[in-house]
Symmetry: C2
Subunit: 193 residues, 2 copies
DNA sequence: TTAATTTGCCTAAACCCTTTCGGCAACTGC
DNA sequence: GCAGTTGCCGAAAGGGTTTAGGCAAATTAA
């Protein structure tokens, strides 16, 4: 019988597509085997196990997002850069909800260190160069930006905002305004209430 | 043979504990049956199915958090109320990671409407009374607060910040400062860049 | 070109989780 | 004590995971 020509990369890409179509948690070795019209056991020559498959998809998504983000940031600074980066994540989450969810998978330390995760932090830091923040605050700001952006996207992605007015596009724009204003005028440490 | 005295409520509470111990996605009808030393099929008289069980746990968590939040907000206003509310969520997530994850489960519209979800939005709105925000902006601010708080907690919960310096407690405090400052000086709609 | 080796895919089987069905035992009210 | 209801159980079917062992196709060598 003819061979199917499977490889880990091929399976990972197909897994990513499957994730976008049916949700990341529905990505299963069995479903993937069906998609290639191949026996389930065949996949285990290319992928260690189900977890390994999911991890590969996560790494793919992190990589893709990092590339898009780097691209979007080229030649931009300040508020412009901030919205560009945030939009990259938001657009990616909308076009590839399964991949986006995958990217949020918890990775073991070694894998995480080898992932594109660091690049994301680096890119966020790059944005802050356009604002006037020194070191301890810069890290706080990086974390804040990560929290807002990913928090917002998660809520929007699983319908947390409902279909209520005003629409989410408007809120998103206002949040960008708010973050920009905040970074321009970052409150100093001992903030009296 | 003696009966085990199962009820939907009992199973839900035990399921919540199980979630905190082994993770929400490891909460399974089988695991719960084992915990009660009972046959798996027995649970199906009290709970429609696995999804139903998970939903009940989510509703329990939402309820518990709403009660804690209402309590924490009593007699507080402004920055004080803001940090109190945020801390309720954060502390709850740390003490009950499984329940917290459950609370983020996507509910179908009817169930969501009957859940404590609305109370959470109401409580967040209550905080904004201490600041000077009128209606469209108030909703934007509610969404921003939800995004930051839940975004931050999610990242912290699954180790997104690593163990790097400065520590996360410090970042959390600074984020509270930042949000307070932001709400005190919310940028008006057409923000010139 | 054929022989030896490697590689890829398959069948089979064990294990776990889900869900339904039918039965029997234990409570409930009378 | 008896009927009726309720609660728990065994069995079975269906799907996902993973391993082991085997045969065939590709690859390399002779």
């Amino acid at each position: 019988m003819a061979r199917a020509g499977l490889t880990a990369e091929l399976l990972t890409r197909a897994g990513a597509e499957l994730a976008d179509e049916v949700g990341f948690d529905q990505v299963t070795v069995s479903a993937l085997a069906r998609r290639f019209d191949v026996a389930v056991a065949s996949l285990y020559s290319h992928v260690r196990n189900s977890q390994d498959l999911r991890t590969r998809i996560a790494l793919l998504a992190l990589d893709e997002m990092a590339a898009l983000a780097a691209d979007a940031l080229a030649g931009r600074a300040g508020r412009d850069a901030l919205t560009a980066l945030a939009n990259v994540y938001r657009d990616y989450a909308r076009e590839h909800p399964g991949r986006y969810t995958a990217a949020r998978l918890r990775l073991d330390p070694a894998t995480a260190a080898a992932s594109a995760g660091g690049r994301h932090a680096q890119l966020t830091r790059a944005i802050l160069r356009g604002y006037d923040l020194t070191e301890p605050d810069q890290t706080h700001a990086v974390r804040l930006l990560g929290s807002v952006i990913h928090g917002y996207i998660s809520l929007e992605l699983d319908g947390g905002f409902g279909h209520s007015a005003p629409d989410t596009a408007e809120t998103w724009a206002r949040i960008m305004d708010a973050l920009d204003a905040l970074l321009c005028n970052w409150p100093t440490p001992p903030s009296a209430a």
